[in-house]
């Protein structure tokens, strides 16, 4: 591991000050579950490392009237135990509770899952499915709000500026009657990188017609996104089994390519049916 200057700010302003000067050669570390292996493999060789785990304002889950705010340094374990999230955003708990194993979940953070921008990230696709927004701060640009779906440019590359710090994940509360489900496939039941995941958020009105649906596969493309073609199969229609099959085919058709070879298609269709079965 190449040596570095190590800094632990106690405040957001301290962190922003450091990044404004050293951001272009600084790696931000929170739980370290992605960063430390990368440092050890010398995939990254920063001359400066900034530890954000001691900034209290970056931790915790809080509730406002219409939205939930999650600090980026909130661990997956803290997310799993949050009463606010149990009540309002259980999809995030479903995703966070399946990352790695308990010692990883006790350190890994939601901000890290987003910032690392792995194609196999589990929590980021769920945040995208929930229409989450990211609050970024820097001395040069001030506060900037970015839709979560726009955070990642390419595998392992966010669009965050070198002097920018992720300071909040903001998710609007879901309307009553919204159903969500998450499924992750990996090589094992735990300690497994995602081979394929699916986050679905769906709302059917009182007449049973689907008014809103969000489908975000994970680990099937370099950059996770909502698959509008599959979503559009459902809008305005009532729930029925034939729709699920049609949407599954549309989803598979939309995704096939470099990242998801033909042989994974039956699995994707099957996962899709399974998850849809849980929300319909």
């Amino acid at each position: 591991m190449q040596t570095f200057e190590f800094y632990t700010p106690k405040t957001i302003s301290g962190a922003l000050e450091y990044l404004s000067d050293k951001g272009n050669r600084c790696k931000i570390i929170a739980g370290g579950t992605d960063v430390i292996p990368a440092l050890r493999r010398e995939e990254v060789r920063p001359s400066h490392v900034m530890n954000i785990l001691e900034i209290e304002q970056l931790r915790g889950v809080s509730e406002e009237k219409d939205s939930i705010r999650i600090g980026p340094a909130t661990t997956f374990t803290e997310i799993t135990h949050s009463d606010i999230l149990k009540r309002h955003l259980p999809l995030l708990i479903e995703a966070a509770s399946q990352v790695g194993a308990p010692p990883i979940r006790n350190r890994g953070t939601i901000g890290g899952n987003i910032g690392n921008a792995s194609p196999a990230a589990d929590v980021l696709p769920a945040v995208i499915a929930l229409d989450g927004e990211l609050e970024l701060q820097s001395k040069s640009l001030g506060v900037r709000i970015l839709p979560a779906g726009k955070a990642v440019e390419a595998a392992y590359k966010t669009c965050f500026g070198a002097d920018e710090l992720l300071t909040g994940i903001l998710i609007r509360k879901l309307p009553g009657g919204t159903r969500c489900a998450f499924c992750k496939l990996g090589r094992r039941n735990a300690m497994a990188r995602s081979y394929m995941s699916l986050s679905v958020v769906l709302n059917a009105g009182k007449d049973g017609a689907i008014s809103d649906v969000r489908i975000v596969p994970g680990a099937v493309e370099a950059v996770a996104r909502r698959v509008a073609a599959a979503e559009n199969v459902f809008i305005g229609k009532k729930v029925q089994a034939s729709l699920i099959d049609k949407a599954a085919e549309t989803l598979a058709g939309d995704l096939v390519g470099v990242w998801i070879p033909e042989y994974k298609m039956p699995v994707l269709r099957s996962v899709f049916r399974h998850v849809l079965g849980r929300v319909l």
Partner: protein, 159 residues
């Protein structure tokens, strides 16, 4: 701020005792425990958070000590296997592991015991599935896990 190539004094508590040790910024907590404090009960396995041989308890939660930079442990309370029990005074979990044949080569055992300890503190009567989740971050190549799970279950029933 720790400049490159220089050491900083790290202050933390280990097994109830305050400790001061000079560390380089690139060192992990695992390295400090094993090489600086000579607490070699915690094992070095994969060094990337996949095997759990390095699991210790930090501020009440299990962590892979290979994934904690030493300086991130500043002011934290660390518990290692050395603090769990002594030869003359084994912890009930250690007794149960021995009684149930849950130790073969012993390499995974310290990490398994730390994960089990936290489990029983948070969930005194866990179901078998909950035991499996609690040790899902600890790999064992010898036992096939059955005896480990039995040993934890038995220890929970004895309380």
């Amino acid at each position: 701020m720790t400049p490159m190539n220089e050491k900083t004094i790290l202050r933390m508590k280990v097994n109830g005792r305050p400790v001061e040790v000079a560390v380089k910024p690139t060192w992990t907590l695992l390295r400090v425990l094993r090489e600086e404090l000579r607490l070699t009960g915690t094992k070095k396995g994969c060094e990337q958070g996949d095997c759990g041989a390095c699991v210790v308890i930090m501020n009440g939660k299990t962590v892979n000590s290979c994934l904690v930079l030493a300086l991130q442990a500043e002011s934290k309370e660390i518990e290692t296997i050395e603090g769990l029990g002594t030869e003359d005074n084994l912890h009930p979990l250690q007794k149960s592991f021995i009684e149930h044949g849950a130790v073969q080569c012993g390499f995974c055992t310290p990490g398994m015991l730390m994960s089990s300890k936290v489990l029983l503190q948070e969930n005194p009567k866990p179901a078998q599935e909950e035991i499996k989740v609690a040790i899902s971050g600890n790999l064992c190549r010898c036992t096939g896990y059955t005896k480990i799970i039995k040993a934890i279950e038995a220890a929970s029933l004895k309380r």
